[in-house]
Symmetry: D2
């Protein structure tokens, strides 16, 4: 029995665009053939995945006719049904077509903003039709290279207007759909607006139906700027806004790599899995990664299997961490949280004045031994399989 | 007459710790002598500054007696009075003393958290006594190198508990004081919690008295991770949370440099000044920078004068930009915002269905010429003084 | 008379691939049509450029027949002749075709390395036929995402073998051609071998015909990792290896942007121009940049004109700097270089023992005032056109 | 028996300044007491280290008298002797004292350059007296924030003059000493000259006695800019210039962290160890890291033990990799290196013309399956202890 074999209950999902990536890059032509969506469904199911996600145009070409669309969607539903896969999340492609070259919801041109809205409404309809309960917004073109061209206050206002319109649209249609906003700092734009998960959380609090809107943090997007992803996810969870998550990997300070989950930053991937498992996150675990361009189609399925397997290995490491007596002893000593430590339970004039008068001895307090080198070394050894 | 000579109405402020920086760095000893706070007041006043800001221990040593403190504060008030300077902002030093080596409000030790709270309450009293109306929180030690040591969810909860306690304290004392949270991604900690202005905005929406709490974005802190500072400030302004600002400069992807304002990134400094002037920001313009370590004390005043002068030059450039006919013509063409462009004013079932039925032509819309190369070139030439 | 109007004597060059860039990016389709090479020649000539550079396949498609190639080359030569443009530099496309997906000269497969060599020999023949005197090697695919797959020592050896073979080929054919190696840290590969100009300089010293081989530093490639480009160019000049240069602009820590020269980092662009002009660099000034994706074809020519114009403006600023009395006075004071300062002219046992016995006073020496804040402020003001 | 217990034959060394680091940082005071050098020797010996390295002033204060120095050195030698430790490497502190605030060998002031030379000669004498055979040059202050202040060509020339003088001094004294140059991109200077190991290799080829001079690559310094350290070390080895190595760890794009070896980037640390072991590097394995500031003195020894233990674990992983049949099978398939693959053994007119005429089929060559996803997944699982 293989303990690291995924099953649908693990809630692993992939995008049509991720396993379907053909290996084109800014300097090179595709290295792999297109894989039909129905074939993706069949192979993912065989690997133990739970679902498959999509942009509208991953499934239905932007210029498909009404009839073409119906055939495509019908075939796809049949494949989902045949292979027991669902579509938990859908999203809109607002970046490939040249019309979006200067933004979609934040274009200077109101007609392009209107087109982006229209395209998203239709894509929401499609997503709901396929059973999606989460709708992701990644504003890859919502940014600028030329800050002279656009006031960022206008851009924020336009983006908010669109989201407010779309939450109304969802409510008006009685769709059971939540929105998840996905941040990215740059690429394809020089700078993208609302560049981090934190910025998205701040922005959500300015929306009309903010309860319907959460975030979709992505490992690579946060690590591109060197931010600690595990901390960003914790902030989203703390704010009750972790509606979806995009798992992959990335070296900091460079182009968007979308590497296989856990392939680059083993330690930070571990803390991420540990957090997700400890807090009891129950949403989909979506791998927004793609296979190295060096691989042929078989490599794609190695890649997909590897993403899931590494997650499950790190989940098991997380369990070991929670049961390692030496690690847990160190943590118990660290946590000095009893009422005798004088932190006031709640503000009142009397707790305030008591605290002000309390002769706390900063020199004594600075002497506590923390043993973080030991704790971190034990963590590394646990990850290396030495404990 | 020198058009770029600062006057108090320009609202330029400096910190005691900024012009008072002695040039110590991680690899070297101080290169300049300590400058007494009263002397700083005198010199800043002579240069045309409006105010001086401080951490509690910039003025009063952490181990000063009650009497020593009274003498120091009294002398400082006298100097402020003599030279016509005010103290618009105060803050707490929660990072120099070894007691804070693993955090202040987010220490694992409740007694250290209590001490941080107590120290801040006293420092708030001092700040209010000196006339401060803005109180900054920079949690430089609120972070981790060893993520095994602390759950970030605990850290966020502890930080929130402290801020909620302190807003109560301020209200209970009828202080006219707003809080401004300042983010930084790392240094001195490996990773600092709530690492960007955006993350702070998200966090503020989880606070009890969130109306009293805004942000204090700092150029260098945002640029350390390569984020677009001007966009971050726009988001803060959009959320009505721009309570204070820290101006300086920084090369991305390296240690915190706190360079003279406008000395490194001329173009992005320009867009920042343009934004602040166009929206009508009326808070203090604080230079949280320090003089190169190569300089002696006279160099410090060159540095301070340079910060203000460059701001005023860029303010004038911003005015020129708004009056440059060629630039303004390009912008007018860009902005396609009339109702005829079909963006719905407001959601209703009928505006939604109209939009869905509208035969918007994405190919035609993609053809509009944007002239961003020309616009950007004109901006660069304006900055270079060629227009 | 416009003082910033380029003429061929300025030696400005562009690549067919730069002005010919169609605006495709990793997330979007082309936004501009292909421009025929002969049309590029015509337009560049009209703008005052000196030459046009190319990869073999910019001009001749990889699968062109012998006859097709002859027609294309002949038409192109005619256009060069008609419009008075030359081809100072040529290079090989070793990255677009899928055969190079895991490297060209550093592929694990000797047959692919052989193919890369063959393709380069043919492309050298073409370049020489067009008059090129400099041949650039940019090894965009010579790298790895998976370090398990390839020993970097093998990669270095294979790359050296290929270069040694090719220098022999050039000599054997009596071509007047020098090689210029161009470094890049990453993209399209996760990591590219020999990632900086400095690394290339180190590598060159291990080559057989190292006199024939220099470097082609590129602004964006060095700035992607935040390295100081002006320092890298100085090292190349110091080593007598600055054979070519690629001018553009880039924000640090992100994807390869290839922005219009001087559009982003005004100050560092100035120091670069100042260095090139002061040392008397006489090679081509090649703009390896491309136009924003938001632009149509007319924007391309705005872009090309802007690159050249900004260079000329910064050249004029460099002249001003050298004649600014206040700046020059500061520099004169700084430079303490007389023999009385005790630096030994040359090693000998006696200069060594004299130096050892010399009672140099480090405390006195540390007191010299450097006035760098003032010097830098004057530089910034000169750039802003205020002096 | 513990297989990961270090012994002197492992050649692990530490610096007095590394284990002796007192936990001061730019924002905080020391958190640990000074540890006397003789105590460091005793404890390192107990942990199984091989040697201890030093800057002149780590052992002898800059203002020690002749007699004070003699006593200190004598006591230190006694401790080395008592505990069986050696001093394989020594270096000069050219950064702490304010005299070096604008550089040592590259100061604008020839008298400061002379002082740096004198200080280094004396420190070389001390190092040789202690038995050092490697002398490291880390030019932490050799850089600039203000590029207007100094021509980088002067800086390179001055640095070269100093190194040429010092190699003469070493030869003249018949010292058995090699020089190892250590690069760093920035911090404490805004930009440091010769910022990467590659740049140092390039520079060495311009020196008079270049055979005596190699490099001392440091993990953290290369990773600060996101460069691949394992590739840089391979280049140094390829050039026969790997004279010493500094092991530690670092998150990219931020301040110099000097973390415990292997604590952050597990995968890249593995490839480094694998390279060092496979090529047969026999120089010292020096840990230029320091203990978290949160630790007391006992934490320092946990830290030192952890550095060595992780190296030995990764060394064992490297052995496993070389014997893992599944991994080795994949590598064998990848390596297509037979003569039948048509790569010419050596240049000759006939091998050149054969190659030009060879009908290599790029389409067929592009089809080879590389299985890099599988190879990388197996590597990750080996690191995680799952294989």
């Amino acid at each position: 029995m293989d303990t690291f074999k995924p099953v649908p209950e693990d809630r692993f999902t992939f995008g049509l665009w991720t396993v379907g990536n053909v290996g084109r890059d800014p300097f090179g032509e595709p290295t792999r053939p297109h894989i039909p969506p129905t074939e993706i469904v069949r192979r993912l199911s065989g690997l133990g995945a739970y679902g498959v996600n999509l942009h509208d145009n991953d499934l239905v070409p932007i210029d498909a006719s009404f009839n073409e669309k119906n055939v495509i969607v019908s075939d796809f539903k049949q494949a989902l049904n045949d292979h027991g896969l669902c579509v938990p999340m859908a999203t809109t492609n607002l970046f490939t077509d040249p019309v979006f070259k200067d933004g979609a919801f934040t274009s200077n041109d109101a007609a392009i903003r209107a087109y982006a809205l229209q395209k998203t409404m239709r894509a929401i309809d499609l997503g709901v039709d396929l059973g999606a309960q989460i709708y992701v917004f990644w504003g890859g073109r919502e940014g600028a290279e030329v800050d002279a061209s656009k006031n960022p206050l206008d851009a924020l206002r336009w983006f908010r207007d669109s989201l407010n319109f779309l939450t109304e649209y969802v409510k008006d249609n009685n769709y059971k759909l939540k929105f998840a906003l996905e941040a990215k700092p740059n690429e394809p734009r020089g700078d993208i607006y609302l560049p981090s998960t934190g910025a998205m959380l701040g922005f959500i609090s300015t929306l009309q139906d903010s309860d319907m809107v959460g975030v979709n943090p992505e490992v690579a997007h946060e690590q591109m700027t060197g931010l600690n992803f595990h901390h960003a996810v914790a902030q989203a969870w703390d704010a009750d806004k972790l509606f979806h998550i995009d798992l992959n990997d990335q070296k900091p300070g460079r182009f968007d790599q979308d590497l296989r989950f856990g392939s680059e930053n083993i330690k930070s991937s571990f803390f991420l899995v540990k957090l997700l498992e400890e807090v009891g996150y129950r949403g989909p675990l979506h791998f927004d990664a793609h296979c190295y361009r060096t691989e042929d189609t078989e490599g794609v399925w190695d890649f997909a299997a590897g993403c899931m397997r590494t997650y499950l290995i790190l989940k098991e490491k997380s369990r070991q961490f929670s049961e390692d007596p030496e690690i847990q002893d160190l943590l118990t000593v660290l946590r000095q949280d009893s009422p005798s430590r004088n932190f006031p339970a709640k503000y009142s004039p009397s707790t305030a004045s008591s605290l002000l008068e309390n002769p706390l001895d900063r020199t004594a307090l600075s002497k506590l031994n923390l043993s973080y080198e030991r704790l971190d070394q034990l963590t590394v050894e646990l990850l290396l399989g030495i404990r």
